[in-house]
Every structure is written in structure tokens, then in C-alpha cells.
């Protein structure tokens, strides 16, 4: 009961030195359906499980393209994600407009982090309730970043966020060392298997999965339904055999 008093605003520290609003925002990320990303030396793949609020409703988009060299997968409040997505797109366009080149990845993540931090520092604001996985290629190679509501960001070889992401994480942790030289097709397979681990009761299909790929010499794009169906079929076959 007492903690309620510390938890209402992000300008209040609790006695342990935590900002509860930020902790709660992290919970919002964990509520969202799973998103994961993985990268090799030449490619980054983002995989998301899409949810539909209702049988008659469409599935909520989870993977967005930002620029030719960059895309994001999200977990948490989609509305917040769309706001950040719009921000990132416009930053990329602005950078392109002034420099004629792609926005360096980490600097864009830094800008998001700065925005996120401001949201944890003002009494009339709330932290973003969304975690982003940003997959991108620039001249320093391929990158997979995770950006948190707290304003922290980390770079990974492979990572999963969202509800029940632990199983996906476990799968990725087991396999990430062999990712370095893989083609994007292989990465997609690993991504789908990891997603499968997290979404056990859900049947994966081209309707509830989205996959984004980007690589050196390969602009960011979402896989189309045919490609998705084929990849999903492939991994289900493989799994049947192994079982």
C-alpha cells in the first residue's frame, strides 16, 4: 500500500532508489507479444508474433520499416511505438536530406534514448510503454539494438522481448554463437524457431507472424505471405522430425 505513494509519478524515487513508474513501464513491455531479433555479420532479421484483439479484427502490426537500412520490431504499447517510429523515420529523412547518407544507427538509438529519458524526468509525463528492437546496417556493420522505456539501450547479437520471451531467449542463447556467418534465410529459420518456443499454444501462420530483414546490400523489407508460409512450413517440418 505504501509503495503506491512512490509509484504515482516518475519524479519520485522510492526508498530503494528506484523509479517505480519506469519499472511499471518495463512491465508494459513484458505484456506485449513476443518480438525478437538476431543478426549475422551481413544480415539482421526481426521476427514478431502479431496479436489480434478479436476474431474479426486484423492483426496488429509489429514490425515497421524506418529507412532503407533500418527497421524495428516492437513489444508493448503499439501507440507509443508508432510515435517513436514516426520520429525515427523523420530523423532518417532529415539526416538523408542534409548529408545524403544513412543515419548512423547508434546515434539514432541515442536520440530515442534521450527522448525516453526526458519522459522519466518530468512530472507531467509518463515513460514510454514500449521496447524496441532496432535492426540496421551501417558502415560499422550490422546492428541489433534494444531500447528500453528507462532510456537505456543495449546492443545484442540476438534478443527477444515481450510476453513469454524467456523461452525464445533460451533458444537464442543456445544458438547465437553460430549465427555469425548465416544467410538471412537461415536467420529467419532460427528466428521462427525461437518464436515458436515462445508461442507454444499459438499456431504460427503467415497471418500472425511478421518478419523483417535487412542486410548489406539488401534494403529493409518485410517478407511477403508466400515467403512466410514457406519458411514456417519448413521449420514445422524440421521440428516434427526432431520430435
Amino acid at each position: 500500500m505504501l509503495s503506491v505513494n512512490y509509484s504515482l509519478s516518475c519524479v519520485t524515487f522510492d526508498p530503494k532508489g528506484k523509479i517505480l513508474q519506469v519499472e511499471y513501464a518495463k512491465e508494459a513491455v513484458k505484456q506485449g507479444s513476443t518480438s525478437l531479433g538476431l543478426k549475422s555479420n551481413d544480415f539482421v532479421v526481426l521476427v514478431s508474433l502479431k496479436k489480434s484483439p478479436h476474431d474479426l479484427a486484423s492483426h496488429q502490426e509489429k514490425v515497421f520499416d524506418i529507412d532503407d537500412h533500418m527497421g524495428i520490431a516492437i513489444a508493448g504499447l503499439t501507440a507509443d511505438a508508432r510515435y517513436l517510429c514516426k520520429f525515427m523515420r523523420s530523423e532518417c529523412l532529415n539526416y538523408w536530406y542534409t548529408h545524403d547518407s544513412h543515419h548512423p544507427t547508434e546515434r539514432l538509438i541515442g536520440k530515442i534514448a534521450k527522448k525516453a529519458q526526458i519522459k522519466t524526468f518530468h512530472p507531467a509525463k509518463r515513460p514510454f510503454g514500449v521496447g524496441l528492437l532496432v535492426g540496421s546496417v551501417d558502415e560499422t556493420g550490422t546492428h541489433l539494438f534494444e531500447s528500453c522505456p528507462s532510456g537505456n539501450y543495449y546492443e545484442y547479437v540476438a534478443m527477444a522481448i515481450g510476453a513469454r520471451s524467456q523461452s525464445a531467449k533460451t533458444y537464442l542463447e543456445k544458438n547465437f554463437e553460430q549465427f555469425t556467418t548465416l544467410s538471412w534465410q537461415e536467420l529467419v529459420k532460427h528466428g521462427l524457431k525461437a518464436l515458436k518456443a515462445s508461442a507454444q499454444e499459438t499456431e504460427l501462420s503467415e497471418h500472425n507472424v511478421s518478419v523483417g530483414i535487412v542486410g548489406k546490400g539488401l534494403n529493409f523489407r518485410l517478407l511477403n505471405n508466400d515467403e512466410l508460409r514457406a519458411s514456417i512450413a519448413e521449420i514445422s517440418d524440421a521440428m516434427d522430425v526432431s520430435e
Binding site: F64, D65, R89, L93, W96, Y97
Partner: protein, 258 residues
């Protein structure tokens, strides 16, 4: 006054030329009377004129299922040639290009702005904007700078919804019309009559679009070549851009460099 009336056809949009290159000073009494000053403009050392004409010619001819754009690649500043390989034509979508002449700084800005808008559109709606939409967009973009216009004379060329070639011709502040062929820039006065002659009646009510690609390409090349014979600001290379079902194809050929 008369000079303003001479060119009614805005494929020869240089009716704005006077306005850009000799900005009318405030009325001589400090703007108190509403008389507009049409006399000779006194050149004065102070003051900055943000406009400069980099010249050059571009033309476009719509075909049955293609558009052919031909432009020279010379840009000048005064009597100086700044570059002999400047491209006037920018690809906007797989089915649409824009080609402009005028002030290259403004043109580059305008083209970049349009590309950014196209990208935003594509991300938002998950499809490319149609040529018709882009025509309207370009008109609005130009008009949004009504009071410091882009010094750019544009032709927006692409395939329409039916797959037919179309050319949209603009003036600097966004007034536009759908044409079957158009020419802009320093050689437009020289080019327009040849186009009129070769593609007779194409701007009349009953329109017959050019059929043969090869013929159109040769004619377009010839026209730029002819203009280069008489217009000192046109020359060096002709850049041919073909837009058809398979996308945008670009090639260049040398022409006279003097």
C-alpha cells in the same frame, strides 16, 4: 507589361523570368502608392538576389505506354559552364520521374523534398503514389512556396492509372496541366515549335499519343540536338530517361560541347 503577355502557353513558362531575374523594387515612393513600378530596374551593389538561373533544357513526350524524357546536362552560371554532366531528371517512383530546369539549388531541394514525401507516403500506405497524386502533390508543394517560389520549371512524367504515358507541365508556383508533351528551360522557345510540328495536334481535344518508342526517342534526341545548335546554354550531353512498364531506364549520349 507587354513582356508579361507575350508567352501565353506556359510550356514556355519564362513569363516568370523577369520576376526572378529583375525583382521589382518597392514602388519608388517607399510603397505608399499602389502603383506598380514597371520601368527599368536600377542595379545597385547592395542587396542579395536569391535567384540565379542555371539554364538548360528538358523535354518530355508521352507515348501510348511509355514516356520519353530528354534533357541536356549542362548547367551554367552567367556565361560560365558550371558542369557538363548534371542530371535534371530524378526518379520518384517506378512509374514516375520529375525533370526540371531553372535554378539547380532550388531544383535539388524540390526533388529531395518530393522523394521524402514519396517515401513517407510509401511507408504510410504501403504502396507507391500514383502519377496523378504526385502531380497534385507537386502543384501543392510549389504553391506552398508562393511567396518565395522555387525557381524550377518542371515536367512530371509517368504512366497514369491506365498505363498510358502522361506529362504534367508546371509553372514555378504550381499551376499545372496534363499535356502529351512539354518542354521547359532555356531552349523551350526553340523546342516547343518542333514538338508542335512533330506531334501535331497532341494538345488538342482528340489526342493521339505517340506509338513508336524508337521514333519518339530519335525525335527527342534530335530536338535537344537542334536546340543545342542555337541555345548556348544547352549542350554537352543528352540524358534520355524512358519510363515504361518495366520501370525507369536512363542513358546518356554526347552532343556538341561548345
Amino acid at each position: 507589361m507587354e513582356t508579361h503577355m507575350q508567352n501565353e502557353n506556359y510550356t514556355n513558362v519564362n513569363i516568370f523570368k523577369n520576376a526572378f531575374e529583375h525583382p521589382t523594387p518597392k514602388a519608388l515612393d517607399g510603397g505608399k502608392s499602389d502603383k506598380t513600378y514597371y520601368g527599368p530596374v536600377m542595379e545597385h551593389a547592395s542587396g542579395f538576389n536569391p535567384y540565379v538561373n542555371n539554364q538548360g533544357t528538358t523535354l518530355a513526350i508521352a507515348g501510348q505506354d511509355f514516356v520519353m524524357v530528354a534533357a541536356d546536362t549542362r548547367i551554367s552560371s552567367g556565361f560560365n559552364i558550371l558542369s557538363r554532366e548534371h542530371s535534371r531528371t530524378t526518379k520518384l517512383t517506378e512509374k514516375c520521374v520529375i525533370t526540371s530546369s531553372g535554378m539547380v539549388a532550388d531544383i535539388e531541394n524540390l526533388h529531395k523534398l518530393l522523394i521524402a514525401k514519396v517515401k513517407t507516403y510509401e511507408r504510410q500506405f504501403k504502396k507507391s503514389p500514383s502519377t496523378e497524386s504526385l502531380a497534385q502533390l507537386l502543384g501543392n508543394t510549389l504553391y506552398s512556396r508562393r511567396f518565395m517560389p522555387f525557381y524550377a520549371f518542371n515536367l512530371l512524367c509517368g504512366l497514369d492509372a491506365k498505363g498510358q504515358g502522361c506529362v504534367y507541365g508546371y509553372d514555378a508556383i504550381g499551376s499545372y496541366d496534363k499535356l502529351t508533351y512539354g518542354v521547359q528551360g532555356s531552349g523551350s522557345q526553340l523546342g516547343a515549335p518542333i514538338l508542335d510540328n512533330q506531334f501535331v495536334g497532341h494538345n488538342f481535344l482528340v489526342k493521339q499519343l505517340a506509338q513508336s518508342l524508337q521514333e519518339t526517342e530519335d525525335t527527342a534526341k534530335d530536338i535537344i540536338n537542334s536546340i543545342a545548335e542555337r541555345d548556348i546554354y544547352t549542350g554537352d550531353q543528352v540524358e534520355l530517361v524512358l519510363v515504361d512498364q518495366n520501370g525507369v531506364h536512363i542513358k546518356r549520349e554526347p552532343i556538341r560541347r561548345d
